[in-house]
């Protein structure tokens, strides 16, 4: 089989190859470590559990080599992706002439199962976003994790993660997508729990894994059912094929009623609810902030949570089979998505306003924005959801990285504040790079939380680049009109929702209202975060001295911010609606480029016409209406203004409590801050009974009682049988075995007395014997008879 690397159909195979190969090389070759005692400064931090033990610490050569390998891997992926994207954009109808290549994976009887790659318009768009975001995060990690003893391992894991995400993006069938999905789940576990010495970290990792696992199992059921009905999992064969869609829409599902398409759709959506942290399976995402910030950026912005939405967008034709969202006909999956998405959006936004941890706000913001995307899909705004996915990835990654810089700076400031007059730190104190990178050092005053926004303030002066990039990202998140990417994507969702609302479709109305509210809150909490962190005066000593310092570390941490900020502004301009005043003429002279490009992913209208249960998919964007635009302007600016009023006009003073508490009431605020007590509820309803069950039923009753009991019973029976055999052995076998020789010996002892040693006795016997023989002989030959 000829492999022509210039063939654009083959190139997509190589895209994930770079990072995956980097993972293997780092893990197997370049990740060199040495053993040091746990109290050494190289280990960083103080982990009392590990004191006195030798621990692994990466060697410097290994660290550098791993960084190089990781960077090479991701740069390779970026180069090849850009190549593929370039070629894809030059094809006029990419939707019909996709780049694809597949290989036989296994023979399943009379069919074969293929695995391969597919580049259609949606993949192309993802291939722009993912490698760029991942590259930025990799660069950021060089600096952020520079003092971590296990940086090489970190790079290995994020390489694997990137490889898995790219695999998922270029996959041409649902199974390969699922493989990438699961690998990312594993990586998220390992990365969230990267600082595994800390209890909250590893607990968070387990929580993330378990929660997504629940969803993944159901998703797998959906995949299996789909395969059972159609005999294939290839996207082109199912989703671009109206005949298969018709079949799925009309086949009744084996449980729950409804059509097979609906059931599969619901199951896949449940998978996404877990992976993309929608209500009610969102609980893992905030805790996942225990991982290093690059991980949060990657997992919760660019990659993993996007994967969930990606999967839904990918399977969109399946989800709409049997319904027509653009004309008000909804089926179960669409309804589920609209409701769950909308509820999640508003729910998470309300929690975010009451969080004090800078990363937690962003975590809930992510949940909320994913809710936006899911709601958009629920009302059929397929392209709007994809658009928002792309822009969100950029500005959320930016926000996370910027918050990481803030935290880094705060820690730095904390150490500086304490070195004046503090004794006993055994970490080496240089100015540009400090030890104790981990955000949870346990010094004597461990109460200080570098992530608490209440401890910050005034950071715009000492960390200007961070401030501006954070601002750009935050405004993009809030949807600041016209100049930020977030505005355009959010506006498109609202436009689609409004369009449906005017036609009286219920879900559209729900989505419109809730999403508008959520957008308002988004802008509010963004402004709050900006105000508490950067505006005003420093509220603690640490904030006063916060800075990233100079040198490679700070450089690698600011360059990605600038990169992402650029995209956070400009990424929106590919999706300007044509009829938008001024901007439409500039950016979308003939048609909305993004919309026009993306719509090709869906089957053509001519193809779907013939099938009653497959809706028309090439639907134009809703006509330009001023109301949704005005709403977008209103909620964004309104929220920002409200935030300005509360937190900027009169910045928070040290020791003051959050003014929001006064505004909404302390009980409401406490509920929001405690996340509606959902974690506690889950703990009580699911965790505690599970633990009880596993302890009392499985461990004690089944394992120790039944299984051990059974084994003990067997042991006892065996011992009893053994004793029985012992008795048999002693009496019977030994009896016989010893008895026979005894008898023989007895006989021998009795018989040997014949040997008296007296010759005359022997002779007597001889004589008697001779006599007897003679007599017998004589009698037998008749002589005696003749004589007698």
């Amino acid at each position: 089989m000829e492999i022509n690397l210039n063939d654009v159909n083959i190139l997509p195979w190589l895209i994930p190859a770079g990072p995956l190969l980097a993972f293997f090389i780092i893990t197997l070759i370049t990740n060199r470590s040495k053993m040091v005692p746990a109290t050494s400064h190289e280990y960083g931090g103080h982990h009392p559990d590990y004191d006195g033990m030798p621990v692994h610490v990466g060697s410097n050569l290994g660290r550098v080599a791993s960084i190089v390998v990781g960077m090479v891997g991701v740069v390779l992926a970026l180069i090849i992706s850009l190549n593929v994207v370039g070629q894809a954009l030059s094809v006029s109808h990419l939707g019909e002439e996709v780049f694809q290549s597949s290989a036989v994976w296994m023979d399943t009887g009379d069919t074969t199962f293929n695995m391969g790659v597919l580049v259609d318009p949606f993949t192309t768009v993802m291939l722009v976003m993912v490698p760029i975001a991942v590259l930025a995060i990799f660069i950021y990690s060089i600096g952020y994790m520079a003092h971590d003893p296990r940086q090489a391992r970190f790079f290995a894991l994020i390489s694997l993660f990137a490889g898995a995400m790219l695999t998922l993006v270029v996959a041409d069938n649902l199974l390969l997508l699922f493989v990438g999905w699961e690998i990312m789940g594993l990586c998220s576990y390992m990365l969230i729990g990267f600082w595994f010495e800390k209890e909250s970290a590893y607990k968070a990792a387990i929580k993330a894994f378990m929660t997504t696992r629940v969803a993944d199992v159901i998703m797998l059921l959906g995949i299996a059912y789909l395969y059972a009905i159609t005999g294939t999992l290839s996207f082109r064969e199912i989703l671009y094929n109206p005949e298969v869609l018709e079949q799925l829409a009309t086949t009744p599902a084996i449980i729950f009623g409804g059509s097979a398409a609906a059931l599969i759709g619901v199951f896949l959506i449940i998978g996404t609810i877990g992976k993309s942290a929608q209500f009610p399976l969102h609980v893992w995402l905030p805790d996942a902030m225990e991982g290093p910030t690059p991980v949060s950026a990657m997992i919760h912005a660019a990659a993993m949570v996007s994967a969930g939405i990606y999967a839904i967008i990918r399977m969109f034709p399946l989800l709409t089979a049997g319904a027509d969202p653009h004309h008000g006909v909804f089926n179960a999956p669409l309804l589920l998505m609209s409701v769950v998405g909308a509820i999640t959006a508003i729910f998470a936004a309300t929690i975010a306003v009451a969080q004090n941890d800078v990363k937690r706000v962003l975590a809930y913001s992510t949940i909320s924005q994913l809710g936006f995307m899911m709601a958009a899909l629920g009302i059929g705004a397929y392209i709007a959801a994809a658009f928002h996915l792309i822009t969100h990835a950029f500005f959320k990654a930016l926000l996370f990285m910027a918050s990481g810089s803030v935290i880094h700076g705060m820690e730095h400031g904390h150490h500086h504040a304490h070195e004046h007059g503090h004794h006993g730190h055994d970490e080496h104190e240089t100015h540009d790079a400090h030890a104790g990178h981990d955000e949870h050092h346990e010094t004597a005053d461990a109460v200080f939380d570098p992530q608490d926004m209440m401890n910050m303030g005034g950071l715009r002066r000492t960390m200007p680049v961070t401030f501006w990039t954070f601002l750009i990202g935050g405004f993009s998140l809030a949807g600041f009109p016209l100049i930020t990417a977030g505005f355009w994507s959010k506006d498109e969702i609202l436009a689609d929702a409004y369009y449906g609302l005017t036609h009286g479709y219920g879900p559209h109305a729900l989505v419109f209202v809730l999403l508008a509210l959520a957008a308002f809150l988004t802008a509010f909490y963004t402004m709050r975060q900006l105000g508490l962190t950067f505006w005003g005066e420093p509220r603690t000593e640490a904030a006063r001295h916060a800075s990233l310092g100079q040198g490679i570390v700070s450089l690698t941490m600011t360059i990605p911010l600038i990169m992402m900020a650029f995209f956070a502004i400009t990424a929106g301009f590919v999706g300007v609606p044509e009829e938008f005043p001024i901007f439409g003429a500039i950016f979308s002279p003939e048609h909305n480029p993004f919309h026009h490009f993306m719509i090709e992913t869906l089957p053509l209208n001519e193809a779907t016409e013939a099938y009653a249960n497959v809706p028309e998919m090439h639907v134009d964007a809703p006509p330009f209406n001023l109301i949704p635009v005005a709403t977008s302007f209103l909620v964004a600016l309104g929220g920002l203004y409200a935030g300005w009023l509360v937190y900027w006009r009169r910045p928070l003073q040290p020791g003051e409590e959050d003014p929001l508490i006064r505004l909404i009431g302390v009980e409401v605020h406490t509920t929001l801050r405690n996340k509606y007590y959902l974690d506690e509820l889950y703990h009580a309803v699911f965790i505690v009974p599970s633990q009880w069950f596993s302890r009392a039923v499985v461990s004690e009753f089944i394992d120790r009682g039944i299984i051990d009991g059974f084994l003990h019973l067997i042991a006892r029976v065996s011992i009893w049988i053994g004793d029985l055999f012992k008795v048999l052995n002693t009496w019977l076998i030994d009896g016989v075995g010893d008895g026979i020789p005894e008898l023989i010996a007895l006989f021998g002892r009795w018989f040997r007395r014949v040997q008296t040693g007296r010759v005359q006795q022997y002779l007597l016997f001889v004589a008697i014997a001779a006599l007897l023989i003679g007599i017998i002989f004589a009698v037998s030959t008749g002589i005696l008879q003749a004589a007698g």
Binding site: Q761, L764, A767, L771, L784
Partner: protein, 175 residues
């Protein structure tokens, strides 16, 4: 019946010597007496030999048996003298031995001798030849290459060996 002539009377006398001597040998407690009884018995046997027209053997019997062996036995008795009188003559299986002896005799006589050579048997019909080999014939027989020269020589070697053996066995090792 048997006629009474010199031959039969001689036979009778010699029989008494033989059997009486024999009985005396096995019953006497005093071994010197036993030896003398043995001599008597041997003498009777010599007489038999005369009656049976084997004078040379009779002479040899007297010379060798009585003159050498019996004397040897007397020597042995003398040399083991402390034991001649003191003990019982018979061991504790004597009655069984007697029984065996009697039975053996009865069997031999009744079962073997009388049927084959006794009165009324086929043997008795045949006359006894009067042509008898002489002593000279015996001499020739003992040295004739086709007859008994080899056993004769071997017998002499045997005697030599026995003599040497007896000397060796009976030699007193102290000297």
């Amino acid at each position: 019946m048997i006629e009474i002539n010199a031959q039969s009377i001689a036979f009778l006398i010699f029989s008494i010597f033989v059997l009486g001597g024999g009985l005396g040998v096995v019953t006497t407690r005093n071994l010197i007496h036993g030896a003398l009884f043995l001599v008597l018995s041997l003498f009777g046997v010599a007489g038999y030999f005369v009656l049976l027209a084997a004078p040379f053997l009779a002479a040899v019997q007297v010379l060798v048996y009585i003159g050498a062996i019996a004397i040897l036995i007397v020597f042995a008795v003398m040399l083991t003298r402390s034991m001649t009188h003191l003990r019982e003559a018979l061991n504790n299986q004597w009655w069984l031995s007697a029984l065996v002896g009697v039975l053996l005799f009865v069997f031999l006589t009744v079962g073997v001798i009388l049927p084959v050579w006794g009165q009324g048997s086929a043997f008795m019909e045949q006359p006894v030849s009067e042509v008898v080999g002489t002593t000279a014939d015996l001499g020739v027989a003992l040295v004739d290459g086709n007859q008994f020269v080899l056993p004769f020589e071997v017998a002499s070697i045997l005697l030599t060996a026995a003599m040497i053996g007896a000397i060796v066995v009976a030699r007193d090792d102290d000297k």
